[in-house]
Symmetry: C2
Subunit: 186 residues, 2 copies
Amino acid sequence: MALAAASAILAQQGLEALSTRKVAKAIGYTVGTLYLVFKNLDELILHLNAATLKELESMLKAESTKHPRPHEVLHGIARVYCDYAKHQRARWSLLFTHQLAPGSQVPAWFDLMVRELFAIIEAPLQAIKANTSHSERARVARALWGGVHGVCELALSDKLKWGEQVTTESVVEVLVENFLAGLGQH
Amino acid sequence: MALAAASAILAQQGLEALSTRKVAKAIGYTVGTLYLVFKNLDELILHLNAATLKELESMLKAESTKHPRPHEVLHGIARVYCDYAKHQRARWSLLFTHQLAPGSQVPAWFDLMVRELFAIIEAPLQAIKANTSHSERARVARALWGGVHGVCELALSDKLKWGEQVTTESVVEVLVENFLAGLGQH
DNA sequence: TAAATTTATTGAACAGCGTTCATAAAGTCA
DNA sequence: TGACTTTATGAACGCTGTTCAATAAATTTA
């Protein structure tokens, strides 16, 4: 209930509007009660982020099966990723904006979810470049995905300051296209 | 004074610790006075970000002159960018974390600074691929830089979940290397 | 110099935030 | 019914951004 309410607040009122009191009120309880379910707001956000990761994962996996060739798979999931970021802006932002308190670290099960997401990208990369070491494949996947993510982030927050005929999709396209072309060359 | 104090707070106590009261106290004034200088916290941050952009610009420009070949220039400034992000974490984060209130938009002089930063990246790209249209060059520069930025961001906030032998620099290296290789191919 | 006016500064106030905790209500079992 | 456990409350604390009438200081005018 709390997670659904939080998700709704994010969708309707944005990142900044998310607060324990609003979530509590939305589900008909008081703040104190919410703190019996979640240790603190960070933990609530963590679980919300987990749900977001799950959603993203299923969407990317679905897209993966649509294309026969690995290049198309990567272009496809990049596009899906951008779309998700655009349409679920606040929820997506929360994934990255949220930085946990210094000292504490993300639980292992969350780490695992992230790794599984990266596995979706590593698979077609493996198909493009076979016989690469595990760490090399991880490096390439993270370079590509960090890249796609960065373009989405800057584009959505309007920080790339491009002209009008330049769209987010076309920039992501350029990034993936050139990266994969370069990858095939080596 | 206020900007210097804010910068110090960011460096010593991190992003979250930045508040109008702390800045005011640090310069020996009360909150009210600070609001006579800046309309609100957003405006203070805007000016702080402008200073950050200036600093970044001069560092990237300095690095640009160090290398004769455009490939080396781009690798060099990518490295400088990562270093800056790593060592001035909070200030750098503030550049991107900070999202202005809905409706209002960044002033024109700030936009111009961003465009000038991108010009530093567009120059070596122009050398690599001459005879490309203005908008195409803008697209390529933003794809590359969005990418480098994304890798830095995810790496610094520890969200890429790679193994231990994978460093931030090596991932950025992979991204730039492959992108430029692909660019040369087309 | 004295008064008038402008400028600079204050500090209290408001609403909201995350978080805690003694208190109270509701449910369970003997 | 009484004892015990679970569930929920709401007031409180210290923090946040922001505003604004009141005050102090500096400057200008008479």
